[in-house]
Symmetry: C2
Subunit: 305 residues, 2 copies
Amino acid sequence: MDLIQKKLLEAVAGLHEIPTGAFNIRSNGKSVERRTTEHIDILSKEDGSGIDIRVKPEVRGESVHIPVIISQSGLSEAVYNNFYIGENADVTIIAGCGIHNGGTKASQHDGIHRFFLAPGARVRYIEKHYGSGDGMGKRIMNPQTIVHIAENGYMEMETVQIKGVDSTERLTTADLDAGATLVVTERLLTHGCQSAKSTFEVALNGEGAGTHIISRSVAKEHSKQLFISRVNGNAPCSGHTECDAIIMDEASVRAVPEIAANCTDAALIHEAAIGKIAGEQIVKLMSLGLTEQQAEEQIISGFLK
Amino acid sequence: MDLIQKKLLEAVAGLHEIPTGAFNIRSNGKSVERRTTEHIDILSKEDGSGIDIRVKPEVRGESVHIPVIISQSGLSEAVYNNFYIGENADVTIIAGCGIHNGGTKASQHDGIHRFFLAPGARVRYIEKHYGSGDGMGKRIMNPQTIVHIAENGYMEMETVQIKGVDSTERLTTADLDAGATLVVTERLLTHGCQSAKSTFEVALNGEGAGTHIISRSVAKEHSKQLFISRVNGNAPCSGHTECDAIIMDEASVRAVPEIAANCTDAALIHEAAIGKIAGEQIVKLMSLGLTEQQAEEQIISGFLK
């Protein structure tokens, strides 16, 4: 692995060295390193289109790293990974994709992740996207996350698009059985002429199912963002969606959140706000000795934390 | 005018007798009475498809009543009314439609109202919809309100669908120049197998334009409601949308509010909440001696006030 690849790996997975636990590192379209453990198995699909991750029931405190890095300009791939989480297991899964494009052709990674949580299973899923390289070739990432949570399962999903992704279309769908919970925190920063679209579709199908979706985004320069969410309350359940966006320069942001109560005992709430950084906030930080730009950066980094 | 017609007139326009100011009463497809004043003119369109209401500049404190009543089963009509409000005028316009359907065929009124507010004009527009009659024929009302507000104009719109409307598709569109304001308060109650769809599209095109849209609705029994709003901030402006719905019995409600900031100085906020009446509220009122049904009715009437 060369220096660029190592840097990407650090950006998306925080990895300086071989991680503990199970892992699978995919680089330029191939699995380059893998470790399975007693409790967590990783199997390549026969057609080479991705991997199956199987976590045994009752496994607790273990982690799986599955970073993807691309440093070859013009590479385009779609990867299908399935995660089967056994009953009452409790694991952390760190995915992420880093693309370094120093060439002229677009590099693209479409990661389709399916999660099957057995009753009582708990997953913390972290996904970071990062792009670098000063070539003209675009860095494109279209992640799909399809989540099925059985009774009393719990999934927490943190997604971060740090920087340098020219175009992204994110789709997250979930269906929740009784007592299941999905918590999503999305953080998104776009700049230049980037575009980002993020869609959430959550079906609350069982009694006591609940979801909490928080999206925080910053759109700078000429970038464009579109946020779409649909929460369907089909049972006695609760849903809360929050979408806060800061716009700067010539950027634009659209938010289209939908809530649908198909059951009288569904309680659904949505909040959205789009605006620029409040002038007073900048003035206050400037009075503490920061330049206007430093003040803006500090506010944005606090907002996206 | 017979007793049924008089009752409809009272329900939709609060009129027991001939109103003061200008008015035009339309009954069963025809204008039956009209009064113009020195400052407010009402002219029938040549093709009979509606009326033009012209309010002279600087007119203040006058009112226009234009109720529509239908007591003939099977009558279906589309009426196009235009309102031209002169510079700095300040008037109240009371529209409304009542359908009594004692027959087997559907009765339908589609009212398309276009408002042209000159700079500085102010309008308070009140619109009530009401249906009665125990025939099998449906009572259908599809109002369209198209609003153009010039610089520093102000329009306040209150719409109420009281009861008895089987099907409604409401469309309200508005474009606002610099300094213009649109305030909308919508109250909607559906019951039985009724359906209601209400769409708002507001374009904030000028500096300092602002809108505040409040929708409060109650869906009972098997009724269905769909609320859609789109607020486009195309200039330094502010927009606030609120959609609160109570669902009961087997009813369902969907809310699809969209906010789009196409200008960095646009500040847009949306809030939506769908849920049932809180149990504690009912228990509290019951502890004061009300039956459960009385408690529910009191809470609903307070919510829709």
